[in-house]
């Protein structure tokens, strides 16, 4: 039971430490009252129904992109190519949506979702295959694949898929207002949030209540034992990477079908990178991803208020995110030491 407590205590401590550091930075560098800033952040993130909706809208893509790191992490892989998958998923979904634009909206949306998930799944499965069959480090390859993804997007939105009327910001043709996925009734939050919640729940059920999920835990826990049990490690690597990639690809589809209406450079605004942070903060647990995404979505949502009221730069919240990430990585060394009395050597 100690380990469960520790799994919560360590990230919470890391978060507190980051808050202190950020507070010091605000007080001594930006010369604003940190307490006031934190108060405003709360207000901007969770202070009203309006800010809640803003927060949840930002949390939706984080939930999905976080799964792209969390699922392969179960096997001991560190995938950080989430941003690229989101971009690939978004562009593919847009292209697919444009191709079937005349069909009923539900069909268009379904085709877009499947296209985005398939493209994203293949994208990360490729990194997984490189790792499993060619020994290429999956962290580096997935990161580099992100650059390829962004370059491909630029190529398509400025070339073959470009809508000539998008002058200032090259974009694909719009998918059409009728085909947008819309918002949850009674809110301004789009359906992508529900997709994310369902995806996390499914991943949790998969990990906990299927033999495949169990096999993945064995592989991640001790690959040597997994091979002794005759488990087909390569198949599970492809499966986990594919599923993770599909989730982030779906995030791209949601960005296109719920926010932008078309694919353009606005896809690559950092939801993928923040997703990595979410996954690590959540200890790669599918259910923990949800509250952590909301927390980080809230931090992002509060940026505007900090800017307006305290005249802080927009990047202030990005600095906080960066501090949190470093603190989380540093706190990895605390596991197993925090709650156990020091053993005598």
């Amino acid at each position: 039971m100690n380990t469960t407590l520790e799994r919560i205590a360590v990230p919470v401590l890391a978060l507190l430490a980051s808050a202190v550091l950020f507070g010091l930075l605000l007080a001594f560098y930006a010369h604003v009252d940190p307490l006031e800033a934190f108060g405003l952040m709360y207000e901007g993130a969770f202070g009203s129904w309006f800010s809640w909706q803003n927060t949840l809208t930002r949390a939706a893509p984080l939930i999905l992109t976080a799964l792209c790191t969390a699922l392969p992490a179960r096997l001991g892989l560190v995938i950080i190519g989430n941003e690229g998958v989101l971009v690939v998923g978004g562009v593919t979904a847009a292209a697919a949506g444009i191709a079937v634009a005349g069909a009923p909206p539900l069909v268009v949306q379904l085709v877009m979702a499947i296209a985005g998930m398939a493209a994203g799944g293949l994208w990360i499965a490729f990194a997984g295959a490189l790792r499993q069959y060619r020994g290429v480090n999956e962290t580096i390859s997935s990161l580099l694949l992100t650059y390829i993804a962004i370059a491909l997007m630029n190529h398509f939105v400025e070339g073959p898929l470009r809508d000539p009327s998008s002058l200032n910001k090259p974009s694909t043709w719009p998918i059409g207002d009728a085909n947008m996925i819309g918002t949850i009734p009674g809110t301004d939050v789009h359906w992508g949030l529900v997709f994310g919640l369902v995806a996390c729940l499914l991943c949790y059920l998969f990990q906990r209540f299927t033999t495949w999920g169990f096999a993945m835990e064995v592989i991640g826990g001790n690959p040597k034992t997994a091979r002794m049990m005759g488990l087909n490690v390569g198949r599970y690597v492809l499966l986990a990477c594919g599923a993770g990639g599909a989730a982030a690809g779906l995030a791209g589809m949601v960005e296109v079908a719920a926010i932008q209406g078309r694919a353009n450079a606005s896809l690559a605004v950092g939801y993928g990178y923040s997703g990595i942070l979410v996954s690590f903060l959540a200890r790669h647990h599918p259910l923990a991803i949800v509250p952590v995404s909301i927390l980080l979505g809230g931090i992002g949502a509060s940026g505007g208020l900090l800017q307006r009221r305290l005249d802080l730069p927009d990047a202030a919240v990005v600095v906080l995110q960066g501090i949190i990430f470093v603190a989380i990585l540093a706190s990895e060394t605390l596991y197993g030491r925090l709650l156990k009395p020091k053993e005598v050597a």
Partner: protein, 503 residues
């Protein structure tokens, strides 16, 4: 160099817990000697030299260096006194040059190194040594024999004139080994150095060493000039006269059909060299075949291949006549069980619970999974409770993490998982390594039970007693090949000992 020293170790005792790794061992090594330390795995050779080098603190024992008493509590003191150790595995940094490695290991470096003068010093030094290695080549580019020479030269460069070599030739080809050892031999004859070498190989002892000290189970058997010893005597000193018959109750019965058949099996080790070479072996139902041998002769690679943890290079593995590629389906169909050494590391998932670890073989079979996809945890737990009871695993409960259990209980849990399915083929490697007497006795009894009910058991062990006690048939592995095969009822222990030492 100040000439070869003599060293005398008097009354060394070292206990690890209740076990005495060394029990009142005394060795006298004359100045300029080429002295061999001979013994099986676990005889105490390494423990003895580690005590002498200050890596271990001996419980009792005195060291006389050139007949003067010295105290060595730390490797640094040993180095200052001129004691140096050369290991089985290379310790030089592969991507640095020989010169850089040598200068680095001196440890008294100035902030700015004058490489030109260091190079000159080293070249001058090499002109005085019987062999040399290229100064400016990265160590990684040297052949194995040259690397080992560089290791030895470094010790000399650091002004160490009493060299302790721990199986220095195990990574060398016989030709390389001969070259290195013969130059060392010349150096001892010129009284430049004194050498103590740990070895298993009689050939090297006969050809190069002048004196042999034999240890067995932490005790001194004797020290004699090589010229007075023949291989039979050495083998007997090393393995002793032993009971060859089993203590464990075994049924007499005719052995059945072949269960495991290896045909020309070759397996590469981690660096791509053949560790198992063209090995053919048959194991029939109802027999235990013991594979004896000094560790590092391919046993680990053989077991890993059979367990599905390593790919074979060539040859054929057949189980019940069908080709075997270590997939889960085959393992379940043929009911294959594996008991590797260090079970927590090799056969468990440390962070998972006892129940989960006990279900690793069966989690995708009924009742844990009715359809191979859904996973039900309560049958898993029920099964674990039964196994915990039947195999007397001491654990707080089925949901406790397995890493919290003692070594013996981890092995019992693995035993429960592997043997409860009444497997047809049981592959076992050093199952009792590091366990206490009670656990050892129980594990051995379970293996004999498995044999009695008709399982084919492959027992790989570094413990010759274990092999003699349990096996129906014994084979000896040396250098990746089978060196000897004998029914254990008529086994000649001396012949086994000689085969283990490559004769």
């Amino acid at each position: 160099m100040s000439g070869a020293p003599s060293i005398e170790l008097i009354g060394f005792t070292k206990r690890f817990g209740a076990m005495a790794a060394l029990d009142d061992v005394s060795v006298k090594v004359k100045a300029g000697a080429f002295h061999a330390l001979l013994g099986e795995n676990g005889a105490g050779k390494s423990t003895l030299v580690k005590c002498a080098m200050g890596y271990y603190a001996a419980d009792e024992g005195q060291i006389l260096l050139n007949n003067q008493q010295v105290v060595i509590d730390h490797p640094r003191q040993a180095h200052e006194l001129g004691l140096g150790m050369v290991y089985q595995h290379f310790t030089l940094v592969p991507n640095m040059t020989v010169l850089e490695n040598f200068v680095l290991s001196r440890g008294d470096l100035p902030a700015v190194i004058d490489w030109a003068s260091e190079r000159k010093v080293l070249n001058d030094f090499f002109s005085t040594t019987p062999f040399a290695v290229p100064v400016d080549l990265p160590v990684g580019d040297l052949a194995a024999g040259q690397k080992q020479k560089a290791e030895i030269l470094r010790q000399l460069y650091l002004k160490r004139n009493l060299l302790i070599l721990d199986e220095p030739t195990s990574v060398l080809t016989p030709d390389e080994a001969d070259e290195v050892l013969s130059t060392l031999k010349k150096m001892t004859e010129q009284k430049l150095v004194t050498i103590v070498t740990i070895t298993h190989k009689f050939r090297e002892v006969n050809a190069f060493c002048d004196t042999v000290t034999v240890l067995r189970r932490g005790k001194l058997v004797g020290t004699q000039p090589t010229s007075e010893l023949d291989n039979d005597t050495m083998a007997e000193m090393m393995v002793g006269r032993r009971e060859t018959r089993a203590v464990v109750e075994r049924e007499q019965h005719a052995v059945g059909k072949a269960v495991l058949k290896l045909d020309g099996l070759s397996v590469a080790d981690n660096v791509g060299q053949l560790a198992v070479e063209d090995l053919s072996l048959e194991i029939r139902a109802g027999e235990i075949v013991g594979v004896a041998g000094v560790s590092g002769n391919g046993q680990r690679e053989l077991v890993e291949t059979l367990a599905g943890q390593r790919h074979k290079q060539s040859g054929e593995i057949r189980v019940h006549g069908a080709p075997y590629t270590a997939t889960r389906a085959e393992m379940i169909r043929h009911k294959i069980a594996c008991l590797p050494e260090e079970p927590l590391r090799n056969a468990c998932v440390a962070d998972m619970s006892v129940a989960e670890n006990m279900a690793l073989r069966s989690f995708d079979q009924p009742p844990s999974s009715p359809d191979g996809i859904r996973l039900k945890r309560s049958p898993m737990r029920d099964m674990a409770r039964k196994l915990i009871e039947a195999y007397k695993v001491k654990t707080p409960g089925p949901d406790a993490a397995i890493k919290g259990l003692s070594g013996g209980n981890v092995q019992r849990a693995v035993l429960a998982r592997e043997l409860s399915s009444e497997g047809d083929l049981v592959i076992v490697a050093n199952p009792c390594f590091g366990l206490d007497f009670a656990a050892v006795a129980e594990i051995r009894a379970r293996l004999v039970q498995a044999r009695n009910r008709g399982a084919a058991v492959l027992l790989v062990s570094e413990d010759l007693d274990e092999i003699l006690q349990l096996s129906d048939r014994i084979v000896v592995m040396f250098d990746g090949k089978l060196a000897l095969e004998t029914p254990s009822a008529t086994a000649d222990v001396g012949a086994i000992g000689r085969a283990m030492a490559g004769h």
